[in-house]
């Protein structure tokens, strides 16, 4: 006993490290600062995200303002080519739109669709996973069998199918509708992974004491699930979400490229590539290649960040 008493004053002397020091001491930050690839990936992602967010202010032209477009400016090669125009750094497309500005606005749309569909997939997956893991019984069986069936098929097929069905039901040529149809198809095609992970963690968490305590003080199921269990199962979800963001952006680009995504009047990166593809054979490579390189860079950077996060949060690999 005396030994313990003697320890107390010494413990109280050690000051807690400041918030900033604690932040830099954190494992995540440490592994981030020690991986050059990850830092580069983070910078690339940041640059593209910033460019996309600030597009209306930094883009040299407004590709949607018909007054600024002139067919006389169409099909111009990049500025450094012999007959390039200095006003259009990366050249222009068949409508006389500035490719650089179109890319800035396009990444904005691609990122928005990607983020929204990942949020939708995560929300659906988390809710179903929590319920399945906590309630068990028939509901659990139904949800997990549905997940099994869906997992049998690749996401692109399911997204195409949902997209096609909604298009057959109504008019999706409208820009606004096309946008939400796309978010819905991509979101619903990738909820399974979240549901499975969350269900697994919930099965573990539900037997812990804090859940029992919450049950004993008479909290209702909803608040136990969403206020107590949910915060404890979120870790893996964030990793899946980061990895799936790259996938969602690819899916969006693919659907738009295939002509069942966003229309040319509101082009995402995929739509831009699809437009440029028509002029590739005429040797006008810049219309397709520049958006393509942007898309590839963005996805690669996001994937690298996701990989790093998965490894950094996985205690087995430390």
């Amino acid at each position: 006993m005396t030994g313990v008493d003697a320890e107390v004053p010494r413990l109280s002397i050690t000051r807690r490290p400041s918030r900033v020091a604690a932040f830099f001491d954190h494992d995540l930050v440490y592994s981030f600062l020690h991986s050059r690839v990850t830092i580069v990936a983070a910078l690339v992602t940041l640059a593209i995200v910033l460019a996309a967010v600030l597009a209306p202010w930094i883009a040299p032209h407004d590709p949607f303002d018909l007054r600024q477009l002139s067919l006389l400016d169409s099909h111009l090669p990049p500025a450094w080519a012999p007959d390039g125009d200095r006003r259009f750094l990366l050249g222009t497309d068949d409508q006389g739109r500035d490719v650089l500005s179109a890319i800035l606005y396009g990444s904005r749309i691609s990122l928005t669709v990607g983020l929204l569909s990942v949020a939708l997939a995560a929300a659906v997956g988390i809710a179903l996973g929590l319920v399945a893991g906590y309630v068990r019984g028939a509901l659990d069986s139904i949800i997990m069998r549905a997940a099994d069936v869906q997992l049998t098929f690749p996401a692109i097929l399911i997204a195409l199918l949902i997209d096609g069905t909604i298009r057959a039901l109504g008019d999706a040529r409208n820009e606004q509708t096309a946008f939400w149809v796309l978010v819905l198809s991509i979101g619903l095609s990738s909820w399974v992974q979240y549901a499975r992970t969350v269900r697994g963690s919930t099965l573990v968490e539900k037997n812990k004491d804090y859940v029992l305590a919450a049950q004993l003080i008479g909290l209702d199921r909803t608040s136990i699930l969403f206020r107590h269990v949910l915060p404890n199962v979120m870790g893996p979800v964030l990793v899946i979400a980061t990895i799936n963001l790259g996938l969602a952006i690819i899916l969006e680009a693919t659907l738009s490229f295939l002509g069942v995504g966003l229309p040319p009047t509101e082009p995402s990166l995929g739509t831009l590539i699809s437009i440029g593809n028509k002029f590739l054979f005429a040797g006008e490579w810049w219309i397709a290649i520049f958006p393509g390189v942007t898309l590839a860079g963005l996805v690669l950077a996001v994937n690298l960040l996701g990989d790093w996060m998965r490894d950094a949060l996985n205690p087995k690999l430390r």
Partner: protein, 325 residues
């Protein structure tokens, strides 16, 4: 063992039934089939008669049963846009897709396995780093972008390979093949590489990690101690033991290959089922969509079932587990 087989088969059947239900719902309730079949000048009485004749007034359960009955006899009605039986349309394009999938899988195996072995044996060499970096880029590139870049490089700039179509085909009964003509062989190169690139990176990484794991095991050390040559150890002992998971993954991925073929076929205007499906989705051609869905589901379910059963046959541990349940 038998109980396990029966249970897996029943599960597969259930999946097929669910997919059939989705396909039927699409077929029956998305848009009015009658409107798709007749012209604007058809009278209401004639429409009602046609509706009665086709059995669209029967209870839904009866209609669903009839749908399955017809599907079992490969009768998927008439395509709305081509005005031809769906089975004929799909049958025409089936060989093109299968050939493409087969050649791309072969390409992925033949290139991916040696690359995986090399990167495992020569860790840290500059060529390994190049392989791994390229594979990372390969995974991040969307399939359609790979296709466009290959077209730009080989068809537009260098002009050495064709960028669309299947070339000349030879008819062998119900099967058509492009693998026997020079133009057909040239035409398949770019689409097959595009489609196989993702599998290639997957196989390479898998072989690499499996090899690294196997090389650490005791029996490899023992083989070294026995004085076997490096070559015999690496290929006779190590590689052989990595092949089971590799072949499993390749088998399971065959389904994804068929799905990704939709994109590849669109980029290269390859006259296969994927292109047909995409055009059907774009034009709300529900009979084709439904039939394609059922066909792909059947392929997927069959592959999964076969892999599951093979596992049981190969790995005794699973057999014991299966008996225990």
């Amino acid at each position: 063992m038998l109980a396990f087989v029966v249970r897996r088969a029943l599960q597969a059947l259930l999946v097929m039934l669910v997919v059939a239900l989705i396909a039927f719902t699409l077929f029956r309730f998305v848009g009015d089939p009658i409107n798709q079949m007749v012209g604007l000048d058809t009278s209401i009485a004639e429409r009602a008669q046609l509706r009665e004749m086709l059995g669209l007034n029967d209870p839904v359960v009866v209609q669903f049963a009839r749908f399955i009955w017809h599907a079992l006899h490969l009768d998927f009605a008439i395509s709305y846009q081509f005005k031809q039986p769906v089975v004929a349309l799909i049958g025409e394009r089936f060989p093109a897709t299968i050939e493409l999938a087969f050649v791309s899988a072969l390409f992925a195996l033949l290139v991916g396995i040696p690359m995986g072995v090399y990167t495992a044996l020569h860790r840290g060499s500059w060529l390994s780093t190049v392989f791994l970096t390229v594979s990372l880029v390969g995974i991040s590139l969307p399939v359609f972008l790979t296709g466009i870049l290959l077209i730009f490089l080989f068809a537009v700039t260098l002009g050495v390979l064709p960028s669309f179509g299947r070339g000349e085909v030879v008819h062998l009964g119900f099967w058509t093949t492009g693998l026997l003509t020079a133009s057909g062989l040239r035409a398949i190169v770019l689409p097959a590489v595009t489609l196989g690139l993702f599998q290639l990176t997957l196989i390479m990484r898998l072989v690499r990690s499996e090899m690294l794991e196997v090389l650490r095991t005791d029996y490899i050390k023992f083989a070294r101690a026995r004085g076997l040559s490096e070559r015999a150890i690496n290929f006779g002992h190590a590689l052989r033991n990595t092949l089971v998971p590799v072949i499993t993954i390749v088998g399971l991925q065959l389904g994804s290959v068929i799905a990704f073929a939709i994109i590849t076929e669109t980029v290269f205007q390859w006259p296969g089922m994927g292109l047909l499906f995409l055009i059907a989705v774009q034009n709300a051609d529900i009979p084709v969509t439904a039939a394609y869905l059922l066909l792909v589901a059947a392929i997927f379910v069959a592959i999964n079932l076969i892999v599951d059963l093979l596992y049981v046959a190969i790995d005794p541990r699973i057999r014991v587990e299966a008996r225990g349940v």
